[in-house]
């Protein structure tokens, strides 16, 4: 926020940063080697669906685009659309666990379509799920507005998170991915679709 914006009481919509998403496939390799977590093959994009028809149109186009290559190698399963209890829409892409590249390409396609339609400021986060042999769950969450990643590891059934594991992941991947340094921004996404 610049001085003039403060004076006039207005906010600039924050545009998302996308490029760092492509760091995910190599980070996944690193994560498996160092911490034993493998991608589950699912990832999701979360955004705030605005009122009105223009957005509904774009969302439909995105879904058609993503489902075009279903059934082919690397094409993945149909995209699921869910709305969470906070009113955010999640597009969940499901692939095989070794198709990280294809998954990231899909996620990137969703983001690009929304940004091209002028809905960039509505993107909340992208989430890619991992699990280890003990079925511990972990996700890497990408915050568009910051252009940074942070780990989110829900544990148990209630709203608990495994902070030790999260910090461990930051230690493992800190050099490969741009991690969010401000720990207060590691906000939890309990029960996020695709997790």
């Amino acid at each position: 926020m610049g001085f003039l914006d403060t004076l006039l009481g207005r906010t600039k919509p924050v545009q998302p940063k996308l490029d760092d998403l492509f760091g995910l496939p190599s980070a996944a390799v690193q994560l498996e080697a160092a911490a034993g977590f493998r991608p589950t093959g699912s990832g999701s994009v979360s955004f705030r669906a605005p009122e009105g028809k223009p957005f509904a149109d774009i969302q439909r186009e995105v879904l058609e685009l993503l489902d075009m290559d279903n059934g082919k190698p690397g094409g993945g399963l149909p995209v699921e659309v869910t709305k969470d209890s906070y009113g955010y829409t999640w597009l969940v892409c499901n692939h095989l666990s070794d198709e990280m590249d294809a998954l990231v390409t899909d996620l990137h396609a969703v983001n690009t379509a929304l940004i091209d339609g002028g809905f960039g400021p509505q993107l909340l986060c992208t989430l890619v799920a991992f699990a280890d042999e003990r079925h511990r769950r972990l996700s890497l969450v990408y915050l568009y507005k910051r252009g940074t990643f942070y780990p989110f590891a829900p544990s148990g059934s209630g709203n608990d998170r495994d902070n030790a594991l999260e910090l461990q992941v930051k230690g493992v991947l800190g050099d490969d991915l741009k991690f969010e340094q401000d720990l207060t921004r590691w906000f939890p996404v309990w029960g996020a679709p695709g997790l």
Binding site: M1, D5, T6, L7, L8, G9, R10, T11, K12, P13, V14, Q15, R48, A49, P50, E51, G52, K53, P54, D57, S85, Y86, G87, Y88, I115, D116, G117, G118, F119, G120, P121, Q122, L124, C125, L143, K145, R146, N159, T184, R185, F187, P188, W190
Partner: protein, 322 residues
């Protein structure tokens, strides 16, 4: 990268707000010039009155700015809540802050049945967002409407409204003090000199201060109403759901008409930072002129305009990012 945007700037609001602030600045400059003029002629008593008023007024404004979050929380009897205590509320605030890329304020809940919310604090690191029990449990707001209200309050934080309004009120505080000081010194000061020119000075200070106080009071109220509209606007654009905020506004305002259990005097001091004002005045036009918040009609009308803009396929204007 020139990203497309769907945010049509509201030129009218910008112009009106700029004009208000310009007028406030003009009054400020004129007042300072007058005071300096008087002080060059004044003897010791006139000069010291002005100095004391400036120091006291400035000091109290600074203290209230610096401790605004603590003062407001104490006045509302609110307590801060952790994410474990209020997971839903924190969840909404978390997401809105991530969307807006802003620091998360502390979150507090006030045990008041009046449905309301306010945000205060001198900067984003030291701000607190407070909602009342009434808003959470008794107002009948659904999740989207509650989110609209919270986005409105977060916009106040992002716009640094507490700072802006404190600076804008500074002059009125000093002028108000001067009126009082001059009045008392006239009453009790006695006449130590027979210089008729000097004897005129104190009434002159009093008169000028009274005029400045009245004019800046009206301008500040006007500015406050524009800041509310600006916060409505930013909040609605953040959630992309202007109708939810509009519906929350109607519910909350009706709520005010319905439950008069809260002592108005208790809620009054915090009015300027409240989501909807608790005090209701009689006499419509006068009330509009003096109130800190725009009328419900005006706020809903603006939200409807934003809603229409969002629904337009060609609303995107690559130049006008606001």
């Amino acid at each position: 990268m020139a990203a497309r945007t769907r945010y049509a700037p509201d030129r009218g609001l910008t112009v009106r707000m700029t004009a208000t602030m310009f007028l406030l600045g003009l009054v400020f400059v004129a007042f300072v010039a007058l005071i300096i003029g008087i002080m060059t002629y004044a003897h010791a008593s006139g000069a010291s009155i002005i100095l004391v008023a400036v120091v006291f007024g400035g000091g109290s404004a600074f203290v209230s700015l610096f401790y605004s979050d603590k003062i407001a929380l104490a006045a509302a009897g609110a307590r801060e809540v952790s994410p474990q205590q209020a997971p839903e509320l924190h969840g909404i605030v978390d997401r809105l802050c991530a969307l807006a890329d802003m620091d998360k304020p502390r979150v507090a809940i006030a045990p008041t049945r009046l449905p309301n919310a306010f945000a205060t604090g001198r900067n984003s690191k030291n701000s607190v967002l407070c909602v009342t029990d009434g808003l959470l449990y008794h107002s009948g707001l659904n999740q989207e409407e509650l989110e609209g209200v919270l986005a409105h309050e977060l916009s106040h934080v992002a716009h640094k409204d507490v700072q802006v309004m404190t600076y804008a009120s500074l002059l009125a505080i000093v002028a108000g003090l001067l009126v009082r000081f001059a009045f008392y010194s006239e009453l009790f000061g006695g006449r130590r000199d027979n210089n008729s020119q000097a004897a005129l000075l104190i009434p002159l200070i009093m008169l000028a201060s009274a005029v400045v106080y009245a004019v800046s009071f009206l301008l500040i109220r006007m500015l406050s109403r524009y800041r509310e509209l600006a916060a409505d606007r930013s909040g609605a654009l953040l959630t992309q759901n202007p109708s939810a905020l509009a519906s929350a506004l109607t519910k909350v305002s009706q709520g005010m008409n319905r439950i008069p259990t809260e002592d108005l005097r208790k809620a009054e001091p915090l009015n300027a930072f409240y989501f909807a004002p608790a005090a209701k005045l009689n006499g419509k036009s006068m009330a509009n002129l003096l109130s800190t918040h725009p009328s419900l009609d005006k706020r809903i009308e603006q939200l409807a305009k934003i809603q229409r803009e969002l629904g337009q396929p060609g609303a995107a204007d690559p130049r006008g990012i606001q």
